[in-house]
């Protein structure tokens, strides 16, 4: 996918020139960075000063060639932040609105209505007026509507931003399922780091209309420059884990990471889907240079420091322990422990500090 565009805005100019090829590409950046503008430009809803947009080898816009496909011709599915369901139509009419789109624009067959209803669990809502949906339901209906138009690409604009945290954690897995079930590439706009780490396999970080960095999320978001722009509460590690067993009495559940590392997390009943996503804040991990004994924390994992980023008295220490764990310390702690590249360390994590998505 090629994305090169220049759009003058009120306070700055959006000027992006990237090419990428990923299942889920996240456009990550603070509010007002020009993220929605960029999506609108890709969808053909906003004029571009000059540039070129190419998706799956198909040119949607090219100022050089004087080509500018209409939103109808672009064959993209757009889920705006507010959902934008048609308030006078039922859920059924909403989700079928784009279903008649001409096949040669859309993404061929293979997406059935029943499948979409099942994946998003909205079958029961079909005959409701959309004005009676909850925030989470409305987002899923908007998502279904976009998917059923069989788009070449899904554009998601902060689909979770309007939801509260509890609801976010319930909707996020649906997005993962959409990614895995329908094979439609996605561009996912967000200002939330957890969402990037959970869903995306490529990230474009933009600020003030410019690309700051891009790459695989875990790596791209590590640079010192980037760290300072991420709000504290969002600095988290996100892992995919497999459920092993639960012990209600002990209040804990054992899971295994992809690398084979086993962890204890707070008790949860056996889930239907054995694959889960767990997260841990970079501030909730301790580092010891010797294996600790007689402590309450349920997880002690051996690993190796690789690379330390120091910024303004803070240190971001990536530790390799089968997976990469990010730990945030004060620079004083780094000095005291004499941490450097290659230092063998132990990560100490309380069972209860893990959160399950």
């Amino acid at each position: 996918m090629l994305l090169r565009c220049r759009i003058p805005l009120a306070n700055f100019e959006l000027d992006i020139d990237v090419s990428f090829d990923a299942r889920v590409t996240s456009i990550f950046g603070p509010s007002g960075a020009g993220k929605t503008t960029l999506l609108d430009a890709i969808a053909g809803l906003r004029p571009i000063a000059d540039g070129e947009i190419e998706i799956n080898g198909r040119t949607l816009y090219s100022s050089a060639r004087g080509l500018n496909l209409s939103p109808q011709q672009r064959g993209l599915g757009y889920v705006p932040q507010e959902g934008a369901l048609f308030p006078h139509l039922s859920v059924r009419k909403n989700i079928l609105f784009g279903a008649e789109r001409h096949r040669d624009i859309g993404n061929a067959e293979g997406i059935s209505i029943d499948h979409v209803l099942e994946v998003l669990e909205i079958g029961k809502l079909l005959d409701r007026p959309v004005t009676e949906l909850s925030g989470g339901e409305a987002q899923r209906v908007a998502l279904a509507r976009a998917i059923l138009s069989r788009p070449q690409l899904l554009l998601l604009d902060e689909p979770l931003a309007a939801l509260d945290i509890a609801l976010k954690e319930r909707i996020l897995p649906y997005l993962g399922r959409v990614r895995d079930e329908f094979g439609i590439p996605m561009i996912y706009v967000t200002h939330n780091l957890t969402e990037v780490l959970t869903l995306a396999d490529w990230v474009l970080m933009i600020q003030q209309g410019r690309l700051v960095t891009q790459g695989i999320p875990q790596e791209a978001l590590r640079s010192a420059h980037t760290i300072m722009q991420i709000p504290d509460e969002q600095f988290e590690n996100v892992f995919t884990a497999t459920f092993i067993e639960s012990d209600a009495k002990a209040g804990r559940t054992r899971v295994r990471l992809r690398s084979g590392t086993e962890l204890f997390i707070p008790y949860l009943p056996q889930p239907a889907n054995r694959s889960l996503q767990i997260r841990i804040s970079a501030d909730d991990i301790l580092i010891g240079t010797r294996r600790p004994e007689g402590i309450s924390a349920g997880n002690v994992i051996a690993g190796t420091v690789h690379g330390i980023e120091l910024v303004d008295g803070q240190a971001l220490v990536p530790v390799f322990a089968g997976e990469e764990f990010f730990v945030r310390l004060t620079s004083g702690a780094v000095t005291r422990l004499e941490l450097k590249e290659g230092t063998p360390v132990f990560l100490i994590i309380k069972t209860r500090s893990f959160r399950v998505l």
């Binding site: 053909g44 109808q72 609105f97 138009s149």
Partner: protein, 224 residues
């Protein structure tokens, strides 16, 4: 005998021509209101002003302009006359006067209701592949229909009350071009006050019902 044949005739004639005039201007008014609310084009503000002029100009002046346009000395009037269409001093004149005078009210009301439709919905409909026409009829119109009906009611009420432009273009010919307002004027002039009061009652009742419906619709439209 309050409701004489004449009274009935005048009332039905007014209602019929008023309704016809409203139906004639409705498609044009809706289209123009959409162009005002959703598109930018050269000279838009000039056209907007011209459309609104009859709202503030003395109706008699508007009537005089219409008379000049549709009179046989004018190329347009002559052209129509050559094809057997005569406008001046018959019901067609009444219709044209009503249409021109009520058009601005219709356009203003419909324009407002179009502006209140979230353009994001239309944009998203476009990304879902809907043509401009489908968006207009399936999204925009249904979301704005209360404002459109309210505007039409308002225009209809205005048409029924038309006096100044009508009397110039169509005259005040009993049984041919005499509407409620013209008849009231006539009755008062000739000292037939009781007849005038009957018509007065009818006009007040009609106006009340239409304005009340129109306001109710607009409030309902805001809530939805």
């Amino acid at each position: 005998m309050i409701f004489s044949v004449e009274t009935w005739h005048i009332t039905v004639f007014s209602l019929a021509v008023g309704l016809a005039s409203t139906l004639v201007i409705l498609p044009f008014g809706v289209a123009l209101a959409w162009l005002f609310a959703r598109r930018d084009w050269p000279l838009k503000s000039i056209v907007e002003t011209i459309v609104l002029l009859p709202l503030v100009m003395p109706p008699v002046s508007t009537g005089l302009i219409l008379l000049k346009i549709f009179g046989r000395r004018n190329p347009i009037g002559q052209w129509l006359y050559d094809r057997g269409i005569e406008v001046v001093f018959n019901w067609k004149g009444v219709l044209i006067a009503m249409a021109v005078m009520s058009f601005p009210l219709l356009v203003r009301s419909v324009r407002t209701s179009f502006s209140e439709v979230n353009p994001r919905l239309e944009q998203i409909a476009a990304t879902l592949g809907a043509s401009g026409l489908r968006i207009f009829f399936v999204i925009t119109i249904p979301l704005a229909y209360k404002g459109i009906v309210a505007g039409a009611l308002l225009a209809f009420s205005r048409a029924l009350g038309e006096f100044g432009a009508t009397i110039l273009l169509a005259g005040n010919i009993p049984g041919r071009t005499q509407t409620l307002s013209l008849a009231i004027f006539n009755f008062v002039q000739t000292g037939k006050d009781p007849e005038a009061y009957v018509l007065l009652g009818i006009t007040v009742t009609l106006a009340f019902v239409f304005v009340w419906c129109s306001e109710w619709l607009l409030r309902a439209g805001k809530r939805a």
